[in-house]
């Protein structure tokens, strides 16, 4: 069979006239000009360069939608059957671009303004002031430092998750029951976890865990010191998300070729040798995937912190997201908060890219 030509076996022969093509292109360019023109005009109006304009940006949005519609229609007018095929994807692509690119550009603009919702002047561009403020903001750097601790904790979570996955992969009694039970924490919202555990079970006076600690002769204090508070946040987050890593690792373990493991046993490998030399290397791609996804989850850690410690004591448990939440929600500091979020986004992209680059050689199973 030919690998070239019309693989979709188009049945309609397109005979598109030049006039139709010209009309299609004119529609696209005409509506594009209208959209850009209106946008420029409205911008000039907002900046007081022209005296007349619209009350809001809605007409520009309508012009954009008109352009998007014209672009879709023009695909068929200009390219016929091939254009129809494009229409299966184009509207969705335009929709996604509208919801990602525009907000991103808007956020970029906002992050270089002094926009505080309480300010009567509204957003005013302030150059690099927000960046300078961030550079001198001890709360932000403290939160970034905490994020390093939180991300490092993923290693411990991985070890526990691997252990649990091995247990659940073994021939133990009530294996299916335990698989469901171990998954339960993942089904809980972190907000529920923070209230049920952080605010109730660990409540110093009447929380059941506190009572047990008191019965054992100690005075309970789970959030009294920076180290302890940070550990408790890590523990609650780990409790919620270890099942996620565990289930990924378990799926990986079950997909391992049994012959290889059996062969190692035939060759006389002990359980530890079999794990170290066969199972663990074979599991590396799954492990790396689980760790990377978990790190991405971890970088968004906020809900438990907001509910349980509000970042305290003295910022010891603050994550970048919980700090931005306070800056944004409690202080309506939209400009600065957006800049912090944008910088964090860039940091995450760089970090994850480097991480993936670093682990890429482990991502494929050894031949």
């Amino acid at each position: 069979m030919s690998a070239e030509g019309d693989l979709l076996h188009t049945v309609t022969a397109d005979h598109i006239s030049d006039a139709r093509k010209r009309l299609g292109k004119a529609m696209v360019w005409g509506t594009a000009l209208l959209c850009v023109g209106l946008a420029l005009w409205q911008t000039a109006f907002e900046l007081d360069h022209v005296s007349t304009g619209f009350a809001n940006w809605r007409p520009v949005l309508y012009a954009y939608m008109l352009w998007a519609t014209a672009l879709c229609v023009a695909q068929v007018m200009v390219r016929g059957e091939a254009g129809k095929r494009t229409l299966f994807v184009l509207p969705a692509a335009l929709f996604v671009i509208s919801l990602v690119i525009f907000p991103l550009l808007f956020a970029l603009y906002i992050s270089f303004t002094d926009w505080n919702l309480a300010s009567i002047q509204g957003p005013q561009p302030n150059g690099w002031d927000n960046m300078v403020q961030m550079w001198n903001d001890q709360f932000y750097w403290n939160a970034l430092k905490n994020m390093v601790y939180y991300v490092l904790a993923v290693g411990v979570e991985y070890a526990i998750a691997f252990g649990l996955a091995l247990l659940l992969n073994a021939q133990i009694r009530a294996r299916k029951f335990f698989r469901v039970v171990f998954l339960l924490p993942l089904m809980l919202s972190p907000v529920a976890v923070s209230w049920m555990i952080g605010k109730s079970m660990l409540e110093v006076r009447f929380g059941p865990i506190s009572r047990i600690v008191r019965e054992l002769g100690f005075e309970p204090s789970f959030f009294g010191t920076p180290e302890m508070a940070r550990f408790m946040i890590m523990a609650m987050d780990a409790w919620t998300f270890i099942p996620f890593m565990m289930i990924m690792l378990l799926a990986g373990l079950q997909a391992l070729p049994r012959e290889v493991i059996e062969a190692s046993k035939v060759d006389g490998a002990t359980g530890w040798q079999s794990f170290r030399e066969v199972i663990f290397p074979l599991m590396l791609p799954v492990s790396v995937t689980a760790i990377v996804i978990r790190i991405i989850f971890k970088l968004k850690l906020a809900d438990i912190i907001i509910n349980v410690t509000s970042g305290g004591p003295g910022g010891a448990t603050d994550s970048v997201t919980s700090f931005i939440f306070r800056e944004y929600r409690d202080r309506s500091n939209v400009g600065y908060g957006t800049l912090l979020a944008m910088v964090y986004l860039v940091l995450i992209i760089i970090f994850v890219t480097l991480l993936l680059k670093l682990v890429s050689r482990w991502m494929e199973r050894p031949a």
Binding site: A118, S119, E203, F206, G224, P226, T309, P313, R331, S332
Partner: protein, 543 residues
């Protein structure tokens, strides 16, 4: 009235069958009233009649009760509005839906008003947590899609300061009898630049709650209840190592919340600071009204912070206090039997017997914000060795405001103000303060205890609890918070810095206070210093 308060009163006064029957009979009688009689056009017994709906001890009021009360209180509206006068007018009301109160009551109260006037009201219900963000975004993006708003006075700077509200017409002032407001709710609260904008429907202040079993002859806290912050700190330190008489656990004194609470936690440092910093010679105690320079790092505020740090240093607080926000200190500590002294809103007093976790219902007493042996005179820059008392009017309470969006349409404007006036009417507000509504008494006429007694309430409790509120409301040196834009931003950032200070990350109380002041300066610059000065002065009634 707060729900908890209502439940508490019901529980506390142990209503007997006869009282219950009285209430039920009154309800039946009210239901039998002919419409003409029910439309209480200002006749003298309307207050007594509405207080019997549904009757104390007859269960929580329902929508039909709210409608009945709304109907019976229409008299004042009818004097200013003809039947059907607002036919075709549509208004949008934005308010809260906390505890199924607020807007839920307003709907019932306004239903008869809608039927009489012909206007229609659309509702925007918001959770408390969403309120601030929704309001700020509406203001900042110019998308005010409501005509009437239920709003706390701290936001007046954001709304009134920008000229976004409609000025109250004179006929509304007469209809709602503003002279009856307790002193602190009178101008400048609710006013801006000499113009009036607010129909008050609530009052707020922090009052002092203490454990009676800690104080008295032979009691562990001493013979007398402490009345100054100096005494409170001393008693708190003296209680270290002693045993709580109720729970047998370690005894504790005053409970300061050391963790932030979305800005609201700062009110609790204010309680201490008010006595030191709110000098009778000036309404300003947070910022210099000439320059907006923060006063939060002056010796008075530093003393307040130092007091807290002293107690941390002494180990006087319960374990994990560094992670205790005001919700914790009130509901998980004080009401659960930990600690003996607390400052809070009315909820604590009212929850004392009704909350499942409360064990202190029989041993709780109330008072106003403790005073200080000395006060800092910011104008003279020196301490004065005179006793100073300054109750903290934290949050000031809810009001109803009409937005300027109605100003271009006289009919709509009159309709909006009529609706607001109906909700803030003198008689209707008495009912709201006596039954679960989310609102506390705020008029002098609400403290006519015989009305409560006739309605079936226990006079001793009403006098004890509400008396402390009345004393605070009418205090000549009440500390009123500035109604400037972004006030909760200032509070929120202060909470962050205080948390660092309390965690020992700053060298001293002064350093902590300086960090707060620096952060406040940044916020002022960001929002606009000149406009903040202007608005701050207006909010204090100085301009």
């Amino acid at each position: 009235m707060k729900v908890e308060l209502y439940n508490y009163i019901r529980a506390a006064q142990k209503m007997n069958r006869r009282q219950m029957l009285k209430g039920t009979a009154a309800l039946g009688a009210a239901a039998m009233l002919p419409k003409g009689a029910a439309q209480a056009d200002g006749h003298s017994n309307v207050r007594a009649e509405i207080l019997k709906i549904p009757g104390v001890g007859a269960g929580s009021p329902t929508d039909s009760d709210w409608q009945k009360v709304g109907e019976m209180c229409l008299g004042a509206t009818k004097e200013n509005v003809a039947e059907g006068e607002f036919d075709g007018v549509e208004l949008t009301f934005m308010g809260l839906n906390n505890q199924n109160l607020h807007n839920f009551l307003f709907r019932g109260f306004l239903k008869p008003w809608e039927a009489y006037t012909g206007a229609k009201i659309n509702w925007i219900d918001l959770a408390q947590a969403d309120y601030n963000a929704r309001l700020q975004q509406s203001i900042a993006t110019g998308t005010v899609d409501f005509d009437i708003i239920e709003m706390g006075a701290p936001f007046e700077g954001d709304v009134l300061g920008r000229g976004m509200a409609s000025e109250m017409p004179d006929w509304v002032k007469e209809q709602i009898d503003m002279d009856d407001y307790v002193d602190y709710l009178k101008a400048p609260v609710g006013t801006w630049g000499g113009k009036t904008y607010r129909v008050s429907i609530d009052g707020d202040c922090h009052s002092f709650a203490y454990r009676k079993d800690y104080f008295g002859d032979g009691a562990i806290g001493g013979a007398e209840v402490p009345t100054t912050w100096q005494e409170i700190n001393q008693v708190t330190k003296d209680l270290i190592g002693k045993e709580d008489p109720l729970t047998g656990l370690p005894a504790h004194g005053y409970l300061d919340p050391l963790k932030g609470w979305g800005g609201f936690g700062f009110y609790f440092l204010e309680n201490r600071a008010a006595a030191y910093a709110k000098h009778p010679n000036s309404p300003a105690w947070l910022f210099d009204p000439e320059t907006m320079t923060p006063m939060v790092n002056n010796p008075a505020w530093v003393q307040a912070i130092q007091d807290v740090m002293d107690l941390i240093e002494a180990g006087a607080y319960p374990a994990d206090q560094i992670n205790a926000d005001p919700g914790t200190t009130a509901f998980q500590q004080f009401l659960a039997g930990t600690g003996s002294m607390l400052m809070w809103w009315g909820d604590v007093g009212s929850s004392a017997r009704t909350s499942d976790t409360s064990v202190v219902g029989d041993v709780v007493g109330f008072g106003i914000n403790p005073s200080s042996d000395r006060v800092y005179n910011a104008q003279a820059g020196a301490w004065e060795e005179t006793r100073n008392e300054a109750p903290n009017m934290a949050y000031i309470g809810w009001g109803v405001y009409v937005m300027a969006t109605v100003d271009g349409d006289e009919k709509k404007k009159k309709a909006a103000w009529s609706a607001a006036a109906h909700l803030g009417g003198k008689d209707l507000s008495l009912w709201a303060s006596a039954y679960p509504s989310g609102f506390q008494p705020y008029r002098n006429s609400h403290f006519q205890f015989e009305e409560w007694e006739e309605a079936g309430y226990d006079r001793a409790y009403i006098e004890d609890y509400l008396g402390s509120n009345a004393d605070s409301y009418n205090h000549p040196n009440a500390a009123i918070e500035p109604r400037i834009p972004g006030i909760f931003q200032y509070y929120s950032v202060a909470e962050d810095e205080l948390a660092k200070g309390y965690a020992g990350q700053y060298g001293s109380a002064q350093e902590t206070a300086d960090a707060i002041a620096a952060a406040w300066e940044g916020i002022t610059d960001q929002i606009g210093r000149d406009s903040q000065i202007e608005i701050y002065r207006a909010s204090l009634g100085l301009s």
